[in-house]
Symmetry: C3
Subunit: 151 residues, 3 copies
């Protein structure tokens, strides 16, 4: 059977190393079997992936940014001590898209994140979701994703 | 006793037919007795109800849009197999209002959704809530509401 | 041992009196041992603390506004009948920052709220968090914070 980590590699990703929040909070908290994952911004090895949809970034680029934010959600679950194959269900993703006022395709951008989660975790990755446009994100990031995961 | 469905009719609504998400996620997930409902945009038979508060839509129109989004929240709970009369408690609504930067009456818009939920479900509908202005919503919708419901 | 109320006083705050929501919802709901706290805007004795980051308010002022919103989160938990010293864990804060499109320091503003919660509650206050920029907030408030608390 292909493990979730192997599927992640098929997307071209290795599990990112742990990164502590840049502020006075923690990456995850746990309540019973629910794991709350702090908002993860789009980020690669070079730093935050920045941009504003409908202004400096198109839907394809935005989808790639959402995929990176979703990768970090998986990384924080992993670094909380939960193997990806031990995730019971991704309950909810909230996908925040840094976007200009006239942009209307937040759902297409968000799919970049949703598709990675479902691609790596299969049915256990199928989540409820809200996606919408925000006025801005920390460090100018293009996308931020927060999650609630059943473990 | 008046059922919740009958009360919904008193507001002029029939239960909408099931509508699948336009993207790679699911309408609801369940964790124990909590049901997470994906963000539902304002929508009627003709399609999305669009607009931006403080720009192309006033508070009364916005309240009507919020009512429609709330109707879809109830519809998704129903189509998840939970009769409205079996809902134990609406725990939380998040009401996202597509609005111009100077708009400040998001709470009045959100009341359109809150009032429908409480009108149909009574005390079981009394929810915690956050309401705020977003830069934009999928398909230009005026309002999006997501929910957590105890079933 | 210093109580949480005493620590709050060290920050210069007394527990605010109960304030009912200005709309058709309730301040808190409870599901098992999770308490959902409605979005609390920045507010002092004179009323809402208003402003837009990157436009009419700087990061220090924004951090002070976030501290006030966090104070109101604690107040709503208290008025729901949960002594601050009985809080088991603050699971999640969502910090909404009223900000101009080019503002990028939402995390620094949010720290004003996070620091108060951790300062008053210690390890029990360490929370998952999402912070982002919104197009506007009810009554023009500078910051709104919602929370999920384990009690």
């Amino acid at each position: 059977m292909t493990t979730a980590i192997e599927k992640l590699r098929q997307y071209g990703y290795e599990m990112p190393a742990f990164m502590a929040p840049v502020a006075s909070y923690v990456p995850t908290t746990r309540s019973g079997n629910q794991l709350f994952v702090s908002g993860q911004i789009s980020r690669n090895e070079a730093g935050p992936v920045t941009g504003k949809l409908g202004e400096t970034m198109n839907v394809v680029q935005g989808g790639n940014a959402a995929e990176l934010a979703a990768l970090w959600v998986l990384a924080q679950v992993f670094h909380a001590g939960v193997e990806l194959d031990a995730i019971k269900r991704v309950l909810k993703l909230t996908v925040l898209v840094n976007s200009a006022p006239e942009f209307t395709e937040h759902h297409l951008v968000a799919n970049g994140g949703s598709n990675l989660i479902v691609g790596v975790l299969g049915d256990r990755g199928k989540h409820a979701r809200a996606a919408y446009g925000v006025a801005g994100l920390p460090m100018g990031a293009a996308v931020e994703i927060e999650a609630i995961v059943e473990v």
